[in-house]
């Protein structure tokens, strides 16, 4: 059975800190790994990764995939209170996405 595990489940840091969120997976017919940010209801797309070792960056966020070790990390540098959210990792297998439990990130001022 396809499985996606995120860690930590919850993280509280101070504004300005750097955080690393982890996602490991076991999926047959791997197609892609996606990161989403969920603040209220709808997850908003952050990154899609399909190749190992190629870092994707968007401002203070970056992510990388290791297809040999079956994991990905999401880094957020110089965190701001607006980064507080649940971060979801999803892995695309055979025509569907499997989601992890999410990491609830809280940034305190």
């Amino acid at each position: 059975e396809d499985k996606v595990v995120q860690s930590p489940l919850s993280l509280v840091v101070h504004e300005g800190d750097t955080v690393t969120l982890n996602c490991s997976y076991e999926v047959t017919n791997f197609r892609s790994l996606l990161w989403y940010k969920q603040e209220k209801k709808a997850p908003t797309f952050l990154f899609m990764l399909t190749s190992s070792g190629i870092e994707k960056k968007s401002g203070r966020l970056s992510s990388i995939l290791d297809k040999k070790e079956l994991f990905s990390i999401l880094n957020i540098t110089a965190t701001q209170t607006g980064d507080s959210a649940v971060y979801l990792c999803a892995v695309g297998g055979a025509q569907k996405l499997v989601f992890g439990q999410g990491t609830r990130l809280t940034i305190n001022p």
């Binding site: 197609r31 892609s32 996606l34 209801k41 899609m48 025509q95 569907k96 996405l97």
Partner: protein
């Protein structure tokens, strides 16, 4: 990316009743997906809806409980039937960014509370 709208945004319903959620996309898409997110949980795929064919349901979800329509390439509905408090969840539709694209984008969601 596609612009997706959902109606209603939220609703409070009595047990035993049914609610139909609408999902509208601003461009034609082959596949639309319906997810459920129960309180404190992650997203679980209910079914995949292709235009012109019956929806494909995931394990644990059945058509009698969650009938889906897909009348054209820009619209789908999900009905939550004979509701119980356990159906209280956020319901989300999503679409892939394009043909052979693995990116999925989500609608704004419907927050359903069953009393």
């Amino acid at each position: 990316s596609a612009v997706i709208s959902q109606k209603p945004s939220r609703d409070i319903c009595q047990r035993g009743t049914s609610l139909t959620i609408q999902c509208q996309v601003d461009s034609q898409v082959t596949m639309m997906f319906w997810y459920r997110q129960q309180p404190g949980q992650s997203l679980t795929l209910i079914a995949t809806a292709n235009q012109g064919s019956e929806a494909t349901y995931e394990s644990g979800f059945v058509i009698d409980k969650f009938p889906i329509s897909r009348p054209n390439l820009t619209f789908s509905t999900l009905t939550v039937s004979n509701m119980s408090p356990e159906d209280s969840s956020i319901y989300l539709c999503s679409v892939e960014a394009g043909a052979n694209s693995y990116e999925q984008y989500f609608g704004p969601g419907t927050r359903l509370t069953v009393t």
